[in-house]
């Protein structure tokens, strides 16, 4: 009986994966169109200041094997992508996919780490009133959560740099100060902290989780649990904690990725956001397309995890699929 959720989960996974494939197609096409119609192109940037004629440009394109029409360009890219070949960067000449994977892992550290920070701050603030009733500390903590969520992340980043590097000289990385304390290995915590605090998600987690938990704690079945001497929290956990948390985290992944672009700039973090920024400046089309696809995959992965958790937790959802 413990494995009763395997089949619904497999069905759910299949459905979500099919949706993801469609979505990637759509995302790549839209991004391609936007790039195509935006001014500038990689070759004019590549050959900048070299007094090239239109003829030379055309020859360069031919030499690099760029198809002539926009649709054949897209289909050419799509065909390669399906086979796992994301092309090579126009700027660096390196293959795109290994490069994205290399920096993508750094971004993963940053985003997952910051999500943990967000939850560590938001969950206690959200649940303490349900646990201990209204205390005088609730209000200031909630205000803190909302205030902090309203701070722009780049500003917060510079404030952190100012405090920890400029003022206390804890880390040597910027401005050429030498560290007086042996904290350098911990430098990576700084951007994680900044993104975790400043990604604007804390207030949403607090509000959503608090609403859901206090609603569920009022449910009849939680009262029954208390009447038989069981812990209300244990019975409210699935509906009041697990489901809302996965919901909000999945919904917030795009925002966190967006925040990562900024934080990676501020902290010189070698991640996907920086790569994307650089590629956008260079009009490095293959890199931009690759990043768009990988970012869309990140987001889909979040939604997929949320769906799977929901189906595993909620027996009714799996039952409905079977019928």
């Amino acid at each position: 009986m413990r494995l009763s959720f395997v089949r619904p989960v497999a069905q759910q996974l299949f459905r979500e994966l099919a949706l993801t494939a469609l979505l990637l197609l759509g995302v790549s096409f839209v991004v391609f169109l936007v790039l195509y119609f935006s001014p500038g192109d990689p070759f004019s940037l590549l050959l900048e200041g070299q007094m090239v004629t239109a003829e030379t440009q055309q020859q360069l394109r031919m030499a690099l094997g760029v198809p002539e029409h926009w649709y054949s360009q897209y289909l050419f890219w799509l065909g390669n992508m399906v086979q796992g070949n994301f092309g090579t960067s126009i700027r660096s000449g390196l293959p795109v996919l290994p490069e994205i994977i290399r920096v993508g892992i750094n971004t993963l550290y940053l985003t997952v780490g910051s999500m943990v920070v967000t939850l560590l701050i938001a969950v206690p603030i959200a649940l303490s009133p349900a646990q201990r009733g209204e205390t005088p500390l609730n209000w200031p903590f909630t205000m803190f959560a909302y205030l902090v969520s309203a701070l722009p992340v780049f500003w917060l980043g510079y404030v952190f740099i100012y405090i920890f590097i400029h003022q206390f000289k804890l880390f040597p990385i910027l401005y050429g100060y030498s560290s007086e304390r042996e904290l350098t290995p911990l430098f990576f915590l700084l951007p994680i902290l900044v993104l975790g605090v400043g990604n604007g998600t804390i207030s949403e987690v607090v509000r959503h989780l608090r609403d859901e938990m206090s609603r569920v704690l009022q449910e009849d079945y939680v009262r029954t649990a208390r009447a038989k001497g069981a812990s209300a929290w244990r019975h409210a956990f699935k509906e009041g904690f697990l489901i809302p948390i996965t919901e909000i985290v999945a919904a917030k992944i795009p925002f966190i990725l967006g925040g990562a672009v900024v934080v990676e700039q501020v902290f010189n973090w070698p991640g996907m956001g920086r790569l994307a920024w650089q590629a956008a400046l260079d009009r490095d089309y293959p890199v931009i397309m690759g990043i768009a696809v990988v970012a869309a995959l990140f987001v889909r992965f979040g939604t997929l995890t949320q769906r799977v958790v929901y189906v595993m937790v909620n027996p009714r959802a799996s039952q409905e699929r079977e019928r």
Binding site: M1, T135, D220, Y221, T224, A227, K228, A230, P315
Partner: protein, 367 residues
């Protein structure tokens, strides 16, 4: 039936504060009840008369503020005797006017923590409760079998999970669920309302409590299922002889299951006595409210002659705005010139009109 009192409720007050109307809901105002070892006490009354709130007050499960604000709930069983509202005075301050509580200040969080400590060993173990609306009262995320097993493990000596599971299956059989082994693995939504109520009953009885509180066990079920649940409760009562507080607005259910009856109206007990004296009284010496309730039971002649069913005139008392006199006065059809003035201005106390039969009505006062 021994004469040991298991539960004695004295002058219980449970209020709510209706923020939107800036007024108190006097859900329970001065309830006195006693339950003897082995008996079934039926608590009868219309919706909104404070029956459920009384039960929840006993369980310490009133979740709306300010909740229980004064009174005494003495619970004694298995050598254990304590006031479940011990030290309540330290958490509540109230102002009385003419003997009625007019304003309350309560440290609800503090009292909540205190209740959890007081009730820790009692809730579930000593007092178990069956709720109305069984389908929403069972955890939808957990199989019904596991929910019963949990009750066994929490409240009895059986801690081993395999044994507890056996015990849960045994209880599923006891409450007459078909193929209990299959049902064990069902989630509540997969079961009918009647089955869910059987599961609730099994879950409450699995703890082998000294006192069972059944709050409207038949409400929300089909008429045929209701009859079956009542039958089941009667059988279990005959075998287990569990002391029960049965709450219902259904006189049929109360009449079949109870030994004694308390009739509640507007948050107060209006009449109490043995089931014969109250529901099958020959000389009609009842509280006018009980008489009116009894008049609402459809009889054969109603159906044959197509006579309109009786109903009590007016609405259930607005517990936010209780008049000074008798609570039932505005709807009473037995008021006469002799007592009219008293009815309007003063609320009578319970008077023992025959041994064990108490009525709160001026009709039974000579002067």
């Amino acid at each position: 039936m021994s004469e040991t009192i298991i539960l004695r409720i004295e002058n219980l007050h449970t209020f709510f504060y209706a923020r939107s109307k800036q007024a108190f809901v006097r859900a329970v105002e001065g309830v006195d009840l006693e339950i003897m070892q082995g008996e079934t006490l039926g608590v009868l009354g219309e919706s909104g008369s404070g029956k459920t709130i009384t039960a929840l007050s006993v369980m310490g499960l009133v979740s709306t503020e300010p909740g229980v604000i004064s009174g005494k709930i003495e619970f004694s069983s298995k050598g254990l005797q304590q006031n479940l509202l011990q030290d309540l005075d330290q958490y509540v301050q109230h102002q009385r006017k003419n003997g009625r509580i007019m304003a309350v200040q309560k440290d609800c969080g503090g009292w909540q923590r205190k209740t959890e400590r007081l009730m820790g060993d009692i809730r579930g173990k000593e007092i178990a409760m069956i709720f109305q609306n069984p389908q929403s009262s069972l955890n939808p995320f957990v199989t019904v079998g596991k929910q019963i097993t949990e009750a066994v493990q929490l409240n009895t000596e059986i801690k081993n999970s395999r044994e507890a599971q056996q015990r849960a299956l045994h209880w599923l059989e006891r409450v007459k669920i078909d193929s209990p082994r299959l049902r064990y693995h069902n989630h509540p939504y997969g079961l009918s309302g009647g089955m869910c109520q059987r599961v609730m009953i099994a879950m409450a009885l699995a703890a082998e409590p000294s006192l069972l509180i059944a709050d409207e066990p038949t409400t929300g079920l089909d008429a045929t299922i209701q009859a079956k649940v009542v039958e089941l409760l009667m059988e279990l009562k005959a075998v287990l002889n569990t002391t029960t507080m049965l709450i219902s607005h259904d006189m049929e259910v109360i009449g079949r299951l109870s030994d004694r009856v308390a009739v509640m109206y507007g948050g107060r007990v209006m009449e109490s006595g043995s089931v014969q004296e109250i529901l099958r009284s020959k000389d009609g010496s009842n509280h006018p409210y009980t008489t009116a309730l009894l008049g609402c039971i459809p009889e054969e002649k109603h159906i044959k002659d197509k006579i309109t069913l009786q109903a009590i005139e007016g609405d259930v008392i607005d517990t936010m705005n209780i008049p000074g006199g008798c609570r039932f006065y505005p709807r009473c059809n037995q008021k006469n010139d002799r007592i009219n003035q008293s009815c309007k201005e003063h609320e009578p106390a319970l008077k023992e009109i025959s041994p064990g039969h108490w009525v709160r009505c001026w009709l039974y006062y000579d002067e």
